[in-house]
Amino acid sequence: MALKALDIYKLLPKKNCKECGDPTCLTFAMKLAGGKADVEFCPYLSDEAKSLLGATTRPPIRLVKIGVGERSFGVGEEFVFYRHEKTFYHPPGIIFRLKDAQTAEEIIAVTKRVRDESLIRVGMELRFNGIAIENESGTPERFADAVAAIERTADLPLVLISKNPDALRAALVHCGTYRPLLHAATRANAKEMCALAKQHGCPLAIRSNGLDELAQLAKDCCAEGLQDLVLDLAPVTLGDFVTATTVIRQLAITRTAPELGYPIYLDATLTDQEDAAIALGIVKYASVIVLSPLSQASSKAALTLRQNVYTDPQKPIQMNPGLYRIGSPGKDAPVLLTVNFSLTFFTLEGYLESTRVPSFMLIVDTEGLSVLTAVAAGKLNETLVRDAIKKFDVENEVSHRKLIIPGYASPLSGRIEEATGWKVQVGPRDAADIGEYLHEEWK
């Protein structure tokens, strides 16, 4: 558990010297507790206190970077078991799996897809992260050729899958300086794999379906001087995966087993339920998910789920305040007020679109709070509405002076009328009822 400000304060010199940049030791302690300051800022801290404080700020799961350049990504460096405790920081890489036995055309086509395809959701660009290529052919040459074809097509992070160090060595000729993830070291080939990874400065996946053996492997690799490891639990069933990954995460986060403090690798193709494996991998701590090129439906669902789970639960995604158009609203179109919580926005937008009534959505800045909480916290108030009407020039967009407010904002109706001079109509509480409401109440 993170230390409280007061616990930290007790370790500080209490001189209030201001040398850390804060006015008092107590405020410095508050910043330390919130992770907004570094212990090194305090020049008078004893080494003992420093190590006590420092130990709680070092990430319990190592950050491992895969690939180089624009599309490279980091995984690990997570601090919590539940995302509600703080947030999850590094979304898993979604990696399309190919085999060197496939034709060059197939390989290049998939590579281009990963290179080019993206999904824009809530103002964010969501993408796949890289290519995994398996040495199915068994020959180092074919493997190297496939890797070369990929490299010619795109600068994407790679996962090189082969039991054979020679094959990997051949492939690394083409991509050795681009930090591909090598897969995988097992008890049988650990020494050679480590040497290879070390030589090229690559991250290395280690593989075993026994936790004890995996931990031992990790220790061995560490002893060889390798730090950038990724754990492959080689799960046989979905249940195995969930169980093992839960255990590893808990042991790592609590620092009970620091030797397991590495990101987790999941090959979804090994189950016959790939969609299920992907969904589980995303919610249950996988950091590198290798899968068959996804269908359009699964792509959208997987990218959306990943975006959902890796959103900071304490910082709701916000929309820009403004006047949004649904269809091509005319001067007599209804104006619907709501908050800038993205979920509220998209839900209402969706239902409004399906009503086919052209309308305006007036979005006000409630700092991302939902209607209910914004009303309760006073963030949604008449001044805000009045200013928004002015700022977004609503009076010139429509000829009427009627504003539909969310059902949960009904206590504010009088005050909004007073502040704006607009007639306020209280809409439904549930956005799903907006169609019915407009058809009956908006004439």
Binding site: A5, L26, T373, A377
Partner: protein
């Protein structure tokens, strides 16, 4: 100049053409109700023009009036200007009513060590044998009479100029007034003959609603007079924000003058009652919130109310009282309490001083509730503070029949669990007109215990009782039937009122919990909870715990310190060493911005339940509720 005559009092005032009626009324000394600060928004300053010429845009404001009112000449005083001699009737509802104001006489077991002292000295006139200068002669004399060491005293130029004349005119028998100031001891006044027994000081609570003054005899260490009155700034806006907005529109000078005038009025009445001369007041100590203190000193408060919320000054200030117009001795010093932030001001530092939490090892929680609330948690080593908006519900605002502590306000309520009939007491035992904050809290607790509302505050409309009814907009509970009231209608509390109250109480409790979590302190570690401010004094501690305004620590450990601001000011006035600790206290307090605290909303939601979503935090309340429910079932 046109003359404005106000009816029914026939108060007259001459004003320039174009002056608003509101301005005229204020200049005529009438306390007009203006919540919006004179922007034509609140519709509270309704007046009726009986005769004469005015300019008023009726179209723009007609929504405030009905036809009958328009026929009778209704206007909003704040946006109506005087074009010639006029007669205006002010309905009583547009004037601020005199309210019950809290004045407590806390026993103050404080060592008496004022910072101003007087010394009567009889000096040897100079001679050729002893030609030392007048000043040295005087200071030596004071030192010999028990004053400070002569070398440490100095006289400002204005006093120096007076010295030769006064010494000789009084035949070398004079009284010197010495004040302890940061640089040493300052001779602030010199009077002929023995006036040493005439030395007074005033402690002032400069509240945004009321001003309270304690007048002390600084020779005997006794309180000689107490007075209080409304803060006249209220005519420029009811709340702080409205006043800062008023200040922004070139209104700072007016606000400054009104603050001084309010203090002077209170000082005068305290002095008159005590039969003393204001000229004998040599020191004034003022505890006020940060904005009020800025305004009193004529410092622009505008930058405090918008991000990044920066006050101009935080530390304690000493200035000459006469420079801002305080009516007392022209050499009187003024000491203003320091602040922590824009929201934690000198009034809160005074609360902390008054309850003594900054001197003890054990942990205290101090809560000052008004429209805004401030919470401080800590001990002599560390302190956390926060502030927030409680909403006006706890003071009777935003509640249909809520009212301030005026005569006729219901202040205590109990409900018979079987008949659901309330029993109540009102202020001055007048016929009920409304319900005060303390009455509302009683109601909430009693309704919960009687099962009229559930823990979210929703009224159980399934109850078969005349007092429980659906209401026009919300379900409601009849507290007093029409025939018993002074207002000719049923006094009710609606589900919406209850919701507002719960929101207010949830903010306060959530703030307490946020500080406790920041510090890692549980309710078991809190030795005492202090309530400061008028609200706390009338509050039923048990009911406050039942509805969960404060953490449950046992009502024996909850204390009301009453007006902590004035109590703290008193201490700082009569004991100079207390004053020295103030900056240190203010400095020690860490301020937590609730809006930036992600967990605050969470605490708020869990606090928006009676008493709380986590019932293990309120074991005694829970036990009692279960006992009464079970009893009801038998």
């Amino acid at each position: 100049m046109p003359t404005v005559t106000f009816l029914p009092s026939y108060r007259k005032i001459d004003v320039e053409r174009g002056c608003t009626i509101l301005d005229a009324a204020q200049r005529a000394g009438l306390n007009v109700n203006v919540i919006c600060g004179g922007q034509g928004k609140c519709g509270k300053c309704v007046m009726f023009v009986q005769a004469g010429k005015t300019s008023f845009d009726l179209q723009k404001y007609f929504r405030f009036f009905n036809e009958d009112e328009i026929r009778r000449g209704a206007c909003l005083a704040c946006v109506t200007s005087v074009d010639g001699d006029i007669q205006v009737t002010i309905p009583e509802s547009s004037l601020i009513q005199e309210q019950k104001i809290l004045i407590t006489r806390e026993d103050l077991p404080i060592e008496f060590r004022p910072s101003v002292r007087k010394f009567y000295v009889q000096l040897q006139p100079p001679s050729l044998a002893d030609p030392s200068p007048d000043l040295s002669r005087l200071l030596w004399g004071i030192q010999k009479s028990g004053g400070p060491v002569a070398e440490k005293m100095y006289a400002p130029l204005e006093v120096l100029r007076e010295i030769p004349g006064i010494l000789r005119h009084s035949d070398w028998k004079v009284t010197g007034t010495i004040a302890l100031v940061p640089g040493g001891y300052r001779l602030i006044d010199l009077q002929e003959n023995d006036t040493a027994m005439r030395l007074y000081g005033a402690a002032v609570d400069l509240g945004s609603t009321t001003i309270v003054v304690y007048l002390w005899d600084l020779v005997t260490g006794k309180v000689v007079g107490i007075a209080s009155n409304y803060n006249k700034q209220i005519s420029c806006g009811e709340d702080i924000l409205a006043r800062v907005n008023f200040a922004r529109k070139n209104g700072l000078a007016k606000l400054q003058a009104l603050a001084v005038e309010s203090i002077n009025t209170a000082l005068t009445s305290a002095a008159d009652n005590a039969g003393i001369d204001r000229e004998d007041i040599y020191e004034v100590v003022i505890a006020g919130n940060t904005v009020m203190t800025h305004m009193l000193l004529g410092i622009d408060p505008a930058y405090m109310i918008a991000e990044p919320y920066v006050p101009v000054v935080r530390r304690a200030l000493s200035v000459a009282a006469s420079r801002i117009g305080i009516a007392c001795n022209q050499n009187c010093g003024l000491f203003a309490f320091p602040a922590v932030s824009d929201f934690i001001g000198g009034d809160i530092i005074a609360d902390i001083l008054a309850c003594g939490m900054a001197e003890r090892e054990e942990i205290s929680l101090m809560i000052d509730i008004g429209t805004n609330f401030e919470v401080v948690l800590g001990n002599r080593e560390w302190m956390f503070s926060c502030a927030g908006a409680a909403g006006p519900a706890l003071e009777g605002g935003e509640v249909l029949f809520g009212m301030r502590a005026n005569p006729g306000a219901i202040e205590k309520v109990t409900i018979d669990p079987t008949t659901l009939a309330p029993a109540y007491t009102t202020i001055n035992s007048a016929k009920p007109r409304g319900i005060t904050g303390s009455g509302l809290i009683d109601l909430l607790a009693e309704m919960l215990v009687a099962g009229i509302i559930d823990r979210t505050g929703r009224i159980n409309t399934g109850i078969e009782n005349d007092r429980v009814r659906k209401g026009d907009h919300f379900p409601e509970f009849v507290v007093v039937w029409e025939r018993e009231t002074a207002i000719g209608k049923d006094i009710v509390i609606t589900e919406n009122d209850i919701k507002n109250l719960i929101m207010s109480k949830a903010s306060v409790h959530a703030a307490c919990v946020t500080l406790m979590k920041e510090a890692g302190v549980t309710r078991h570690e809190i030795a005492t909870i202090y309530f400061a401010g008028a609200f706390g004094n009338y509050l039923d501690k048990k009911n406050a715990t039942i509805i969960g305004i404060i953490p449950e620590i046992g009502i024996d450990h909850v204390r009301n310190i009453g007006n902590g601001a004035v109590a703290g000011a008193n201490m700082a006035l009569i004991n100079r060493s207390k004053r020295k600790t103030l900056d240190e206290i203010a400095y020690k307090i860490a301020y937590i911005e609730l809006n930036a605290e992600p967990s605050f909303m969470e605490e708020y939601t869990s606090s928006a339940f009676l008493p709380h979503t986590d019932l293990t935090l309120f074991p005694a309340v829970q036990e009692e509720l279960e006992a009464t429910r079970n009893h009801g079932k038998e």
